[in-house]
Assembly symmetry: C2
Homo-oligomer: 251 residues x 2
Amino acid sequence: MQRYFVQPDQMTDTLVSIKGEDAKHISKVMRMTPGDHVICSDNQGRVARCAILELTDSSVELSVAEWIGNETELPISVTIAQGLPKHDKLEMIVQKGTELGAERFIPFQADRSIVKWDSKKSKKKTERLQRIIKEAAEQSQRNKMPECIEPVSFKELISQSESYMMKIVAYEEQAKQNETSRLAKLLSRADIGNESIIIVIGPEGGLTEHEVQHLQDAGFIACGFGPRILRTETASLYVLSAISYQLELLR
Amino acid sequence: MQRYFVQPDQMTDTLVSIKGEDAKHISKVMRMTPGDHVICSDNQGRVARCAILELTDSSVELSVAEWIGNETELPISVTIAQGLPKHDKLEMIVQKGTELGAERFIPFQADRSIVKWDSKKSKKKTERLQRIIKEAAEQSQRNKMPECIEPVSFKELISQSESYMMKIVAYEEQAKQNETSRLAKLLSRADIGNESIIIVIGPEGGLTEHEVQHLQDAGFIACGFGPRILRTETASLYVLSAISYQLELLR
């Protein structure tokens, strides 16, 4: 069933109102009519199956038919901090990361990031990433829409990481040394329902030793993601799949 | 260290010979000189660090400096059978699948596959996929180069699946019903070193009920890959990451 995110104030206990692009999508693209059902989420945990009462191209009024549980969200909150990669890789990372359950994306300027985003480009690109996230969240039936912020400096990343309970840095030197059990040990003792994890992944050339040292000083634990060397855009998919497997499938 | 695949007959106990495109890559792109080291793999389990003895643009002679273990291969053999998807998604699937340890790819014509590959297009496209696999295998430091065969019919897929010890079909209806433990149960009892797994993944529209029934009749077990609905190109990455996590990190 088609899924739409609405502002919390557009969702009462019995009625939902959808405006703008989403209303157009319902009427013009999906060609729905009164009586048809969609899923509405207020992005704060309230999700309902709703029936369309009336619609125009710019506004759809719905009644709540049934409240639905929050079962498509990972049981812990996961943030992917990604060193700015080249080309359109970040688009792929946020799209797939959203499908796989990430809650937040923090792009950051790493020492070996080749691209630089100036502030004008940054705002536009982040808006585009957020649109990709919205579409992926609806398609994969997420109840929460993840957030992608504008790229931050490495220093700002360290400062933002302070609020997280578990801090992981993907470090390919660990993979080469066959360090393979640390990630599994950390995830096995994650505190379901309470945990917040931040995972830092370097850009194409990897993180510098200096950056890794800095992260470790800030409480990050360096983990290998298996014995093969993963491309930067594959590392976040690996760790999100591993988190889902450990916390959703193994339990 | 740069990695190259060679034919088994180009690798004796002490000497290795590299010809063609790879020789050109070593001399022209990498600008290597005698004394430089590369990793050579015969794709049948023999892997060695080798020193360049002499080189031209079309031929490189090397001596074996050290034999290396097989530690970058998944401990079980995994085949991804992928319903033909649209656009260039198959390229992304074989590239990421190779990074994540798959050994074989079988594209197949599913009921809901929108594209059809005629036999001329099929040969060319498969060659291109094989080139993408080779590059990804070298980059991710695989010791075995995975194989991608030309697309087969559903009937042929069923017939090829007979030789596998464990057969899994990704079924999103299971995900919607919150079936989340079957994959974990199967993987936990995989017979390390001996097991061969085939995983069937539908195209964009999913598998038809008829196809799923047919696969189940042939011994396939329908598994959900977590509670979110994954795009077709994300499902193989999820299951390969889960296999790596269960068999390489959790042990």
